[in-house]
Amino acid sequence: MKPVSAEDAVALIPDGATIMVGGFMGVGTPERLLDELVRQKKSGLSLISNDAATPGKGVGKLFEGAQVSRMIGTHIGLNPKAQQQMLGNQISVDLIPQGTFVERIRAGGCGLGGILTPTGVGTLVEEGKRKIEVDGKPYLLETPLRADFALVHAFLADYVGNLSYALTARNFNPLMAMAADTVIVTAEHIVPIGVIAPDHVVTPGPLVDYLVSNG
């Protein structure tokens, strides 16, 4: 783990990169990294995020300057900007069931070639997917999702990069911290080693590449 400024961390991300961003309706999203993505005008991003949040919040910020060219998520209903851009074919959007979304990220991070889920069988979701029977029941084969960068927000981070999360801000963050080539983390509090007890660490330090310093 290397300490880094938000500016330098985001400078690592090239235009056109695939980024995973933690958070659920903007809760548990690394806002400082998103502000910096906006400020540095990164463009053509492929965004893997549960939702499009709301305008001005979380990943919602990326839609105002049309910085996203592709999105994989589960729901964009509360961001009119994202909807407009989807309807106008400015961004291509893959909407997938939330349980499938998180399992695909987990598969990407855990070295699995995919998972079989009953979700989506017999619906539009099964289009173009392999259907596999196990014990006579049909499942969809869902493949791994990975990103170039994961932007993760933790509650506590210690000096070796161990992370813990608070309340409903955990959501996709720990999964994404395993599923990207480079993991960049912001934390509400950076604390000495030992403040997060071993049993309370959710993301072990070795998974973290960059920890954004708190000013």
Partner: protein
């Protein structure tokens, strides 16, 4: 009692002590208001919480404690938080005893459509498909008809949410279940007759000899 209160109150009667329950947005959210105080039911919020409590008092909300719509909530004593893989492991794995969701259409064999209207804006299915596929019991809470058209249809023409049939539909006019895969009228709303329900229901309903009224 208005239509929403009838539905929410009647659905609340389906919950049992100790149940793990996931409520969708809209009418389903109201169900929590009608669970008897002395009954312990665990509400899951799929963004990562069991033990969802009411909206916090002014100044007591925390920005990192919200429901799946991003609105501030509270957590009850005994609450547990977890990541999204766990949350949907609970849902898809059959650990959620009851989910209550809204519906656009339910058809005669219990199939549900509730996530997409072709040609309109498609917001995304969120967690709905996993909930309908995985929860032990799926209850649909919705108006019986919208804009004069029955939402209990012969066959869904909107895209399905799951190949799994729902267990119970509670509307402002009726309670309908699907024993043997056939839509069956179990109860009518107070002051509503069987004939009245049949008149506004597109799906063919099996009508037992005795159809009581909801006790609310």
């Amino acid at each position: 009692m208005d239509a929403q209160a009838i539905i929410a109150r009647r659905v609340a009667q389906e919950l049992r002590p100790g149940n793990l329950v996931n409520l969708g947005i809209g009418i389903p959210t109201l169900v929590a208001n009608y669970v008897p105080k002395e009954m312990s039911v665990f509400f899951q919020s799929e963004n990562g919480l069991i033990g969802t409590g009411p909206i916090p008092e002014q100044g007591m909300s925390h920005p990192l404690l919200t429901d799946a719509g991003g609105r501030p909530i509270s957590a009850l004593p005994g609450a547990a938080t977890f990541d999204s893989a766990m949350s949907f492991g609970l849902i898809r794995g059959g650990h959620v005893d009851v989910t209550v969701l809204g519906g656009l259409q339910v058809d005669a064999d219990g199939h549900l459509a509730n996530w997409m209207i072709p040609g309109k804006m498609v917001p995304g299915m969120g967690g709905a498909m996993d909930l309908v596929t995985g929860a032990k019991r799926v209850i649909i809470a919705m108006q019986h008809a919208a804009k004069g058209k029955s939402k209990i249809v012969a066959k869904c023409n909107l895209p399905l949410t799951s190949s799994r049939s729902v267990d119970l539909v509670v509307t402002d006019m009726a309670v309908i279940a699907f024993p043997g895969g056939k839509a069956t009228l179990l109860e009518t709303a107070p002051g509503v007759g069987v004939a009245e329900v049949l008149a506004v229901t597109e799906a063919e309903l099996t009508v037992p000899d005795n159809v009581p009224q909801m006790k609310l």
